[in-house]
Amino acid sequence: MVSIVDDDPSVRKSLARLIRAAGYDVEAFGSAREFLARPPHDRPSCLVLDVRMPGLTGLDLQETLQTAGQQLFIVFITGYRDVRASVKAMKGGAIDFLTKPVNDQDLLDAIERAVTRTGQARHNQIRTTEIQNRIKTLTPREAEVFALVVTGMLNKQIAAELGVSEKMVKVHRGRVMDKMRAGSLAELVRLADEGGVISPHS
């Protein structure tokens, strides 16, 4: 699903036509407010957004969405090259910043990228949720051991750190491996990373 926001009706209409002809579902809005007022849906989507509009501008909308935690990949289109605006947009995570008149291939490529990125993001989101669900099954002691194991500490060191016996550490570690469904230490470390427990370099 591609959403278009542009205040110029004929531009809006022509873009919608082009994108629809490329096989996407399209919804179009005349202003940022109209877009924000639409009922939310989960389908992977991309936003084709005009930079300059009366009222809320394209950049304003990007900021609003970010603040709201809605991850939406945006392809900006603009009437004129404005370096500052384009830098701001790209920093905000925009897929591309295209200048009108927009060549169809450039636009569709950008949309495709956005859609793919949206799909990936959605996939990552699901996996993270699942790992986090596994982490939630750990007891507090297991969680402590988990957090230390993935840093590369030896059982002896962990035992000393937690003030328990080395044997106890071994038992907890086995349970963590089971609950996290990790076949190896390396896999456990990756799960910890994906689940947001540690960052690889901290």
């Binding site: 110029d8 004929s10 531009v11 209409k13 022509s14 873009l15 036509r17 082009l18 629809r20 002809a21 490329a22 300059r52 009366p54 289109i77 009437g79 004129y80 009108k100 008149p101 927009v102 060549n103 169809d104």
Partner: protein
């Protein structure tokens, strides 16, 4: 810029009037003097006559030797000598020595014949005074026919002699006055015959007194003037009282012996004497003075004409130019009494740029030699075919065809350059070469030269103004570039996307023809939209002469609003249109007025830069004034003009903007003023400024 000429010289006229009065007084005084002298002369003559009649006569009897034989009492009294001393004494003893010879001759003559002899002798009286005595003697024949005695009458003529001398003096004085008088003096009898004529009169009439005396004075007076002088004479001849016309100054036309006529001023006085009544006519030739007066009057008229032209040409707009020049030339034609007048204008490169003429005109282009000569600063005088210069040989034929008309052409110079020429046709041949005419032409030429040089300067200024206007417009458009580019980009974007969508749809089977048709319709629409933007731009950038058309100001305001819409959008300014739906149309130059409005709108937007985003509002309003005029106003909610001088705001290079040229308002004002309207700026009571101008409603504006 030339100053208007001084006011007509009234003091010159006054001086002339004064001079006239002085002359009149002098003439009257002279007249009076002559009358007095004449009166004295008459009195003297009468007194002498009395003397002759009343003087006592003394008698003596003398012998051949002059011895006194007898003496009457009167003789004794006359001679003042004792009778005893008288008789037997020779008369010689009583006579002054100088007259002895006279006395002796007298006696000899008396005794030589029978006739009475007379002589004047100086007699020494006893009182030691010499008296002049007229001695008249006749011999007394005795019985034998011999004369030994003579009877002598003595008459004291001392007084008479003195009177006679006085008379002679008076006469001499009178004659000297009459002879030396500059004015002609003619004495005329009651029946109108010339009695006397002085040398001045002889000169004036070209006629010797001898041939005029005795003849009618009428021959020296033109028929139409005879009535006046005759009336004066008849009136006083008929009754004893003097005619009221006497002594008064009158104007007459006199005639010389050769028949030529000339104006004179005359006064008539009368003298009554024993011979009856005579009239003295004093005449003064006033032709020279009348010429001077005419010259002065003409000069005055010329000055007035020049002043009038200078004034008329003083503030001349381009529109009035041609008719005003025509009027000026017609005034010149009327003044100089010529048939035609033409004004030639030379351009900077010396070509004939323009020609104005009163009455039909042979194009100056047909006479290149004349233009060339004027161009070199030379004047042209053609009064006869022979006067045509050599270089005009080719034109002889056309001059013949048109029948040569005397012409005078003078170059017009201003600022050290020949800017044109003034050509006059059909002037009298003798006038064509007169200095007076040339002087007139010189003065008039100066006025026209000034006019032409000012016109050229004005044209340059106008061109400069147009250029500046164009530059300003380009600058204005520059300010709008991003905004306009965006506006042009929108339809282009739509067209491209639509076309590419269509390309894709064509590939799909089955083709959605309905959709493709719709796309094509949209493309056409968007293309038109892009075209309109370009058209607007081109209009704004157009460089050219102002063009007056009937305008819908509402539409024009809406158009300007469209132009600034994007700019306003970027600057968070909301634009509000308040258009009077019943607005009549107006006349004006669309592009220029649009530029003014655009300028005012952009100024207003700039003025609101400092305001918080929500408070920036620009109002464009059209309304109808009570006078019927249409007002177009641009109102901003900005910082306002505050204490700034509104007048100074309209001056060139006045700007409060860092990147402004300061030309916008100046040009806006000059454009509005060219539309016979006014550009105003007022502070709004609730902040900000309203700039507005009014235009007269167009033809349908009722």
């Amino acid at each position: 810029m030339r100053k208007p000429r001084a006011r007509p010289r009234t003091e010159e006229l006054q001086r002339l009037v004064h001079e006239l009065r002085v002359q009149q007084l002098e003439l009257e005084r002279q007249n009076e003097e002559i009358r007095n002298t004449r009166r004295e002369l008459e009195a003297e003559r009468d007194r002498v006559a009395d003397l002759y009649q009343l003087a006592p006569v003394a008698h003596l009897t003398l012998d051949r030797a002059g011895t006194i034989v007898e003496a009457t009492v009167l003789a004794v009294a006359l001679l003042g000598v004792d009778r005893r001393r008288l008789t037997r004494h020779r008369l010689h003893e009583l006579v002054v020595a100088a007259d002895w010879a006279t006395l002796s001759r007298h006696l000899a003559d008396v005794f030589a014949g029978a006739a009475r002899r007379t002589c004047d002798l100086g007699i020494l009286t006893s009182r030691d005074t010499v008296r002049l005595v007229r001695v008249s003697s006749v011999a007394l024949p005795d019985a034998g026919g011999q004369s030994t005695r003579c009877r002598t009458a003595l008459m004291d003529i001392t007084e008479r002699k003195q009177a006679e001398e006085g008379l002679k003096d008076s006469r001499a004085q009178f004659e000297s006055i009459v002879t030396s008088a500059l004015d002609a003096i003619v004495t005329v009898s009651v029946d109108g015959r010339v009695v006397l004529m002085n040398p001045a009169a002889e000169r004036m009439f070209g006629c010797k007194a001898a041939t005029a005396i005795g003849h009618a004075f009428d021959r020296f007076v033109q028929e139409s003037s005879r009535k006046w002088y005759r009336a004066v004479i008849t009136a006083s001849a008929d009754n004893d009282a003097s005619s009221p016309g006497l002594g008064r100054l009158g104007a007459m036309t006199a005639r010389r012996a050769d028949g030529t006529e000339f104006p004179v001023e005359a006064s008539i006085s009368d003298v009554v004497g024993s011979w009856g009544r005579l009239f003295t006519v004093i005449l003064r030739d006033v032709s020279a003075r009348q010429r001077a007066e005419r010259a002065l009057a003409e000069r005055l008229r010329l000055e007035q004409l020049v002043a009038h032209l200078a004034m008329a040409f003083g503030h001349l707009s381009a529109v009035e130019f041609d008719p005003e020049i025509q009027r000026g030339l017609r005034a010149v034609v009327g003044f100089l009494e010529v048939d035609r007048a033409s004004l030639i204008e030379f351009s900077q490169d010396g070509k004939v740029a323009h020609c104005w003429a009163v009455e039909e005109w042979m194009d100056v282009g047909d006479f290149p030699w004349m233009a060339a000569r004027l161009q070199r600063g030379g004047s042209v005088t053609v009064s006869r075919l022979e006067d045509l210069p050599n270089e005009a040989a080719m034109d002889r034929q056309s001059y013949l065809t048109y029948r040569v008309k005397p012409e005078v052409a003078v170059p017009l110079e201003a600022g050290g350059r020949v800017v044109g020429g003034l050509v006059l046709s059909t002037i009298g041949a003798e006038r064509a070469t007169s200095d007076e005419l040339k002087q007139h032409l010189h003065l008039l030429g100066e006025v026209f030269a000034n006019l032409l040089s000012r016109k050229q300067a004005e044209l340059e200024l106008q061109k400069l103004r147009q250029d500046l206007g164009h530059i300003n417009r380009v600058a204005t458009i520059g300010e709008l570039t991003t905004s306009l580019a965006h506006e042009l980009n929108q339809p282009l974007t739509a067209i491209l996307s639509n076309a590419q969508a269509a390309q894709r749809l064509i590939e799909v089977d089955p083709m959605d023809l309905g959709e493709i048709r719709e796309i094509l319709t949209d493309i056409v629409e968007d293309d038109k939209r892009a075209g309109a933007v370009i058209h607007r731009l081109r209009d704004l950038l157009k460089k050219g002469e102002p063009e007056l058309t009937v305008l819908d100001l509402n539409e024009m305001v809406a158009e300007v609003a469209r132009l600034i819409r994007n700019d306003a959008l970027m600057r968070d300014i909301s634009i509000r249109l308040e258009l009077d739906p019943a607005l009549p149309s107006a006349r004006g130059d669309r592009v220029q007025l649009q530029q003014v409005l655009l300028n005012l709108a952009l100024n207003g937007m700039d003025a609101m830069q400092e305001l918080p985003a929500g408070e920036r509002t620009l109002v464009l309003r059209t309304s109808r004034e009570s006078s019927g005029a249409i007002r177009v106003a641009v109102r901003d909610s900005g910082v306002g003009i505050g204490g700034r001088d509104v007048e100074r705001m309209f001056q060139a290079f006045y700007t409060t903007k860092a990147d402004g040229m300061g030309m916008g308002l100046t040009i806006a004002r000059s454009i509005i003023e060219a539309h016979a309207a006014r550009l105003d700026a007022v502070s709004n009571p609730d902040g900000g400024t309203t700039f507005s101008f009014t235009l007269p409603a167009g033809d349908d504006g009722q």
